[in-house]
């Protein structure tokens, strides 16, 4: 069974902390994505990576950065967490030549206090 695995299901962090969210996929997919999911707002793209060390900003990149040193791993970094970054974070991946069907991780619910 193919998988996208997010390392933590729940995280609680303090304002100002540096936070790392990890995502690993075992499908050899080129594309990986980080979205945040908020009620009433749907899913909004934070960052996108189409290859190792390659990244593009999504619609809401402010306050976030990403790292993709290996094909299977895509990390989302909150440099200085703030309360408005409390959200559900979803990682997804797909093959570059696919018809956009994503495989999603189970999500990380981050609470910043």
């Amino acid at each position: 069974d193919v998988k996208v695995t997010q390392s933590s299901r729940y995280l609680v962090k303090r304002t100002g902390e540096k936070v790392f969210l990890e995502c690993v996929q075992d499908m050899d997919h080129e594309n990986m994505f980080w979205y945040r999911q908020d009620p009433g707002l749907g899913l909004r793209l934070i960052y996108f990576s189409y290859d190792v060390k390659m990244k593009e900003k999504g619609d809401i990149p402010e306050g976030y950065s990403v790292s993709r040193e290996k094909k299977e791993r895509f990390s989302l970094i909150l440099e200085s967490a703030s309360t408005n970054q409390t959200s559900m974070y979803l990682c997804a991946s797909n093959r570059r030549t696919s018809n956009y069907g994503y495989t999603f991780g189970s999500g990380t619910r981050l609470t910043v206090v």
Binding site: R96, N99, Y100, Y102
Partner: protein, 110 residues
């Protein structure tokens, strides 16, 4: 601007009733549209895509370019259909990025 709108936050129906979840899009080119579903305590998963013209779990969706809509329909709702549904639009020539709508929660009552 590219946009996906799902006008209903919550749709509540009784078992056996027809269901229609609305999705409207704004896109200047030829759109590729999808429906994703998230059941309680499960991960988001692809339900269907318009290019396949398929029926999954009794659901169908037809692309109407004139009305810029991609509504999801099922003639007889089941309790297990209760979930959050997201409509998504592929951003052409942008490497697989999807724009998602706000989501509609479907509640099917017994």
């Amino acid at each position: 601007a590219q946009r996906v709108t799902q006008p209903e936050k919550l749709l509540s129906v009784f078992k056996g009733a027809p269901v229609e979840l609305k999705c409207n899009y704004s896109y200047s080119g030829s759109p590729e549209l999808f429906w994703y579903v998230q059941y309680s305590r499960q991960r988001l998963q692809l339900l269907l895509r318009h290019i396949s013209r398929e029926s999954i779990k009794g659901f169908t969706a037809d692309l109407n370019k004139g009305e810029t809509s991609f509504h999801l329909k099922k003639p007889f709702a089941q309790e297990e259909d209760s979930a959050m549904y997201y409509c998504a639009l592929a951003r052409g020539n942008q490497g697989g990025k999807l724009i998602f709508g706000q989501g509609t929660e479907l509640s099917v009552k017994p």
